[in-house]
Amino acid sequence: MSRLVGASMDAVSAGTPDSRDVVSAQLARIVGAANLETRPSALVPYRTDATFGFSGEPLAVVRPADTREVAEVLRWAAARRVPVVPRGAGTSLAAGAVPIHGGIVLALTRMNSILSIDPVDLTAVVQPGVSTQALARAANEQGLHYPPDPGSQRVSTLGGNVATNAGGLHGLKYGNTAGYVLGVQAVLADGEVIRAGGRLLKDVAGYDLVRLLTGSEGTLAVLTELTLALRPAPQASATGLAYFEDLEAAGDAVRGVIAAGILPATLEFLDARCIRAVEDYAHLGLDLSAGAMLLFGDDGSPAEVERTLAITAEVMRERGAASVHKATAAAESEALLAARRCALPALSRLGGATMLEDVGVPRSRLPELVRRIEEIAKHHRVVIATFGHAGDGNAHPTGCFDPKDEGQRERVAAAFADVFGAAIELGGTITGEHGVGAAKHPFLVAQLGAAQMALQVRIKQAFDPAGILNPGKLGS
């Protein structure tokens, strides 16, 4: 399929000025000249996303204003077999938004209206370019709560969140984005517009396309409107932190908390390197001598929150926490969570580039995964700092390396291949919440097996026979 795409690209040919002019004129008729860019130098920012080492050469970036324009762009692209890569804020950590086969980058950031928030149906209808935080705030103003909060929530768009089924810091109690997607409007690869689901809590008519399109990474359709579920805002929330000798001890404490019948909203871990990097940026007074840190928190009624935090703290002490603190003020609580969200970029302070992964295992096996990661790092002589969602069994081992050192880079890549292997062996996944993208695509078949991979390809072909939607990802 990718060969077909490559050939069609030559037909439109990004190279010759003539064809570029023709492309420009045609696309400009759809979105307006102001919302189209074809100059190679101005396209440089759209070649990459937040993933290290992946880039593509887009032919153009278009910024449509509405569903109709998206449909017209897709009709145009389908007729010419030009790839179309939907893009929100470009914060993918799996090269999901990188136009690796060129084509048109469809930037959906102009479609950034919150269309409605309904306090009775507990739903929000939004355009895909709304930022996660913008919805969370708007919901909050009406006493409502949109729980998914990926690390990049201030930046990331809801369209991207749904397309990758993004997780967040509150996944343990609230789950990933998928749990909140009730309906979508989507433009298919040939420009047809469909609606699936809606403001319904129960709806079993037809195959569950809402669930299928969630996490489809822009390979099946372009999401142009989302109906999302909200919850009543919790009355109270609180956060605490505990220090441990190492990650294994922290993992053991997590098991203890869950075994005690407690399900905190947040249960996050950072290893010693992450603690140092975060402290270096945020100056929170974290204990730099600790081997690992657990950040825990809950929300709900004040009594409930107090009980969860008290029991969690007690279990942590029992399981050998060196010290346990509770954030007394809301601002302190928020600062701790914000600092945790910055763990990845802050790690770049340790030595230039970062390559991060997103493996997940059943919660009970997280300590084992963490131990395996440490062994793998040692074996390949690379620095891997690990943080993640302890309660979800989702770890973000992050390779820190000098980008100019080819050998180091290759060793990090080799180490991650082993980490994927370890995760799969432990009954886990190569990606918990970031998506497969182009970065993990070569490893997908190892997890799914040949038969399922073939089915994934057939699903892709059913939606997008010409293979123009975000080629090189998932079913390709």
Partner: protein
């Protein structure tokens, strides 16, 4: 010109493209274009550095001048990218010789001439060292070049309210204007010369302070608000018709993002009246040094939302801590026919001490 050597490689290498800077960037808010925010501009700088894009390429030149240089992206950057330095370095390459925007050439020439700024300052009656200063602190008050010409009352108010400041008569420009407009070498030279004198430099201009601090060290530079809190007891509230004045603040971007000063001016204002936090106080007003002169259209677009906010707030005073913001907001408030008075922090403190407030 060869591409290599324009940018500090360590600074350029620090960005890991996480995108956390996006929501703070005013030019991204205006356009929604990824080329028009720090991560996109850094991608472009890297392409220039690789020799792939010419530094004088039209899109590269556009981004070099479109950026406000407000540095709002810096405090939110977990990786610690010194973006302000990178944009200065880009402008050094792009605004050399004849390519320097003609509108700012006379300004740089004016600020670069010690004799000229002294003369203008004297005509406009900026502050002088008072012979009666009982305890001399060793700190000098820096006279901003444009502040001397446009707002000489600010330095007079600063000297009147912070005891023990000296005002050297022969001081030159701090070089911020040069550094921000493509002459980093001259900008650094001027800053070093100003800092030769022993003691600290007290500044009433956020733009100057941040530049000085970047060249000669943060410990050498003090903002007026910090000096005031250190040295003087704050005056009581300003009353208007028997009620405390409603006062808001517009942060100076460089004071906030470059110097990290946000609390001190607010502490002072809380004593002076009924302090109201202006939503978006930390976001650029569009003055951005010479930006208002070079890109008046965009400057006003950035300003527009602020005016809507200020109209709704109906303040008695909007306080500024940088002459560029003062000029921008005075004319904006006038255009919008608001009753709000735009004054520098030092001027308001002086008013409170003298009791000379007229509503």
């Amino acid at each position: 010109m060869t591409a290599q050597g324009i940018f500090d490689p360590a600074a350029l290498g620090t960005c890991i493209s996480c995108g956390f800077c996006l929501p703070t960037c005013p030019t991204y808010q205006l356009t929604g274009d990824e080329a028009a925010w720090p991560r996109g501009r850094i991608a472009l700088m890297r392409a220039i550095d690789d020799g792939e894009v010419d530094v004088f390429d039209a899109a590269a030149r556009e981004q070099g001048s479109f950026c406000l240089g407000c540095r709002a992206c810096e405090p939110v950057c977990p990786a610690g990218v010194p973006y302000g330095k990178l944009i200065e370095q880009l402008r050094v390459a792009q605004w050399t010789g004849r390519r320097r925007p003609w509108r700012i050439i006379p300004l740089m020439w004016f600020a670069g001439s010690r004799r000229l700024i002294r003369m203008v300052g004297r005509i406009r009656r900026h502050a002088r060292t008072t012979a009666a200063s009982p305890e001399h602190s060793g700190d000098m008050l820096m006279l901003g070049c444009f502040e001397r010409a446009l707002f000489p009352a600010v330095s007079r108010a600063a000297v009147a309210t912070v005891p023990g400041l000296t005002v050297p008569r022969d001081q030159g420009c701090c070089g911020a204007l040069h550094a921000h407009n493509g002459d980093l070498a001259r900008g650094e030279e001027l800053a070093r010369r100003l800092a030769e004198r022993p003691g600290r430099i007290v500044s009433t201009a956020g733009g100057c302070a941040a530049h000085l601090a970047a060249v000669v060290g943060r410990e050498k530079v003090v903002d007026y608000s910090e000096a005031l809190i250190e040295r003087a007891s704050l005056p009581g509230p300003i009353l208007i018709d028997g009620r405390p004045a409603r006062i808001g603040l517009q942060d100076s971007c460089h004071l906030r993002n470059g110097m990290g000063v946000t609390a001190a001016p607010r502490t002072v204002l809380a004593a002076l009246g009924d302090y109201v936090e202006v939503p978006g106080a930390g976001e650029c007003c569009g003055a951005a040094g010479t930006y208002a002169i070079l890109r008046p259209t965009e400057s006003r677009q950035v300003l527009a939302e602020k005016i809507t906010t200020l109209t709704a707030l109906d303040l008695d005073f909007l306080v500024v801590v940088n002459p560029g913001c003062q000029r921008q907001l005075i004319s904006a408030v006038r255009r919008a026919h608001l009753r709000t008075r735009v004054v520098h922090l030092a001027e308001l403190v002086a008013m409170a001490e003298n009791g000379t407030v007229r509503p």
